[in-house]
Symmetry: C4
Subunit: 280 residues, 4 copies
């Protein structure tokens, strides 16, 4: 089994220059769901990343306690109460990409919301399952919906989801489990690996300066924003993973720790570079 490093050429294929005669509808509708009373910051960070990634229209469905903080940081987002079941289903149905899980919590409330998402999502939609949502899927052995599924576990979450203990998370074992689960698996670790359809990609970058809370929420939001815009879903995932750590690597030259929101603010500049014709 060969492991393919993510390359800048792959990014250039995905992040195309935008067409002059386009509008916000062209760049997809992103719906993010998460953020209970304790973990509201997670969905704020995911939303921030999604918007800086260039999604056309972004709506965040969260605990009402988080609305003011979200509006203050990112007025670009629309916001809906995650207790409003009808509205939640409507916004999931209308989305190009859905991110569920950042700060959702793995209690009954979180479970109820996740089931609602699974109930209405459909085949052509991208569904990113992150954080608490991974735990809920593993704990309750939830039946997965028909959609373009993307999982973003770290090693402990992957252990819960795949049943493979961290020490036994070899390439062969991981690919086998990924094939069984289906969809794209983004296994977050030192040199993050992405499994899809029997292929395995590895992210060449990454820095321990990223080892702080919220970094995964930011990646989930980026994957949401990239997949909302780019039809090549696997390519969008690889690009998001690569740029996420590339920004951190660059910031870490001057910083002992890099905060998640610092990464988000840099996304548009990095995307621009990959959209330009390559110069020698």
């Amino acid at each position: 089994m060969s492991i393919q490093p993510i390359t800048e050429a792959m990014l250039r294929n995905v992040i195309a220059p935008r067409l002059a005669d386009s509008h916000k509808g062209t760049y997809g509708r992103l719906t993010l769901i998460g953020g209970n009373a304790q973990f509201g910051g997670a969905i704020i960070m995911a939303t921030t990343a999604g918007i800086y990634s260039g999604a056309g229209l972004t709506t965040t469905i969260t605990d009402p306690a988080n609305v003011t903080a979200l509006h203050t940081r990112m007025p670009e987002a629309m916001v809906v109460d995650f207790n409003n079941q009808a509205k939640l289903k409507e916004l999931v149905r209308g989305a190009t990409s859905i991110v569920v899980g950042p700060g959702l919590g793995n209690d009954d409330q979180g479970l109820r919301i996740l089931k609602d998402v699974f109930e209405v999502v459909s085949e052509k939609q991208v569904l990113i399952i992150d954080g608490s949502a991974i735990d809920l899927v593993a704990t309750h052995s939830l039946m997965l919906p028909a959609a373009k599924l993307i999982f973003t576990p770290h090693e402990m979450e992957w252990q819960r989801l795949s049943g493979i203990p961290i020490a036994e998370q070899t390439v062969a074992n991981n690919l086998q489990a990924a094939a069984k689960i289906g969809g794209i698996i983004v296994l977050k670790k030192h040199h993050t690996q992405i499994a899809s359809d029997g292929q395995l990609f590895e992210n060449p970058g990454g820095t321990p300066a990223m080892a702080t809370g919220g970094m995964g929420d930011t990646l989930a939001g980026m994957i949401g924003g990239f997949t909302a815009q780019f039809a090549d879903t696997l390519g969008a995932v690889l690009a998001a993973v690569y740029i996420h750590s590339q920004i951190a690597d660059d910031l870490a030259h001057n910083a002992y720790v890099v905060l998640p929101t610092q990464i988000s603010e840099e996304i548009p500049w990095y995307m621009k570079q990959y959209s330009l014709p390559k110069t020698n």
Copy 2:
């Protein structure tokens, strides 16, 4: 029918140097109305643009849910609950320019508020009808008030307002519809067109990096801020449209996507340039 490009000379005629012996009252009272519980960000972005455009005094009338986020981002704005009908009418009556619609929502609440605005606005006031307010006018065939009306539809909203399908939105058809509706029409699209009194202007700039939620709210706020200050209403509209996209074009040299609030922060610098004597 000839189309006139907006030129920098037009802007220099409008954006005059401020007189030394002036005060905030000299630069108009701007009242913005919108932002329901789901779309609060829209009125925050419009308010931000209005204040950075230099309106003398700015009051925002919105859902109480948005007050804290608005105060946090823009303490320069005064804020009133949009359920307070008496206060709303008082602040509309006292305004130089009124922006109604960003994030207002096209439900019964939005309709009630819009009708209140239409009831008290008068001939010498500028009234910018944006977003949900355009939909409400179209859906309910509302009688338009006697005021200096400015509509800011995108192509789909223009279809609803004018009855002309997007594919048939030719210059001739648009001008005919605009004449019937009255006021100034800002048709937002690739190379935005402005129709006024049988004349048609076209914005030479614009970039697909602007194709993200909130860009229109920002333009509506800018038009509000410009018309509050400058007596030449058409000139103020042309200047706002031109600078809005010029800032985006400049930022897009280094960014794949430009966020609406990033544009607002640059407005004072661009206005300054046009207010200075031209150098060769």
Copy 3:
């Protein structure tokens, strides 16, 4: 009657280098009171200016609706509900300088609060009466307390306070009225004038780019911060007035309009310059 321009030499006498062996208690306790539900931004801006001016400890007493926005923008401030009469009186009693009025409102609530302040303030304290508080004093002919009073009216507020119509606000008339009212009068206008004990000072700077809402609140907060630190009250007022407009003048080289909060952020740098030995 000769008018003395404020000079940089005056500022250098006031803004002394801080002593190495000092602590926050050395730089005074500043209490600001204002900000009702509609005008919350005013007290936020005044507080911001007071803190950036270097007051040792700052407490803001305001409508509870403003607490979150205030904490978000300036966590350095302590906050108390202005309906808590006992706490309000305690914090006024313990203050070095008090600013009352920004966004207070001139209704019954504002009047009740202002009377509470007047009741407990004492002779050694500096009391800055701004905005709504000036109107309330004028409308209700309130008896002024024994304190180091500073009034900060613009021309219309001065008309209400002094009874002199704007057109008749000559130097002679103003000084006569100021002497009758007592304290220091900061008459805000193009080239702001400061009357104190029969002397008249004039601010050489100022720009129409400052003509926007919140600029006066910012000046009131600066005067609060300066008088909390510097024993020479008149000198502190002159320094605050001068630096407030000097920052605006500098920013206005590149900006058509200068926002009040942009001024506050620059205060520490300007104060530093005046505290350093003069270089030729």
Copy 4:
């Protein structure tokens, strides 16, 4: 008794380069407790400092009134209501380092919370006792728990805690009292002194530009963040004290007053410098 100055060599021994194959769990769990309705800013500033110091996971337990401001400024923090006793105990038990006291208040509510912390903290945990918590310990002669205790009093708080009047706070007296109390004492003053196990260290830096509210909260948060990451607790304290004032000294070259939150934002850059191999 010799006094040892803190040296940069000491910092280099503590702030090691992060290992490539590490994750957020490697850098500790930091729990901060404080911030009542009046002093919410204190816990926000402490949290900010803890996160910029690189703690792996940070949770803040505070009055619900502070949640939105905290989420807005630092979405990286998780937040829990300090009235939720069960959750508070769970989060104290699971922490690597605990900071208790910033803005807690010294009333019954504060006392109840402090007692809960003392009840569940255990020997291997670092407990930083700051601000109101020091007053409560002194006033109520609370029995101290078995933990790695760190006290961060200023001179007046030290007087209350040790019983030594400020004028008699000599090195000998302080060390004797420190030995009796136990743990590490950070006595904040011009050239802050740190007593531990009969040793006395002195901070060579510091500037009166730091003499403003919130500076101590920021230091407490830094000590929390440093001790959560670095096993050498005394070394972590010395490094935090040194960097805190070093940043202020550098900023004070250009600023008459330095705000606490300005210091926090610079922490990652300074830590990075000490983690790099020394160059000549």
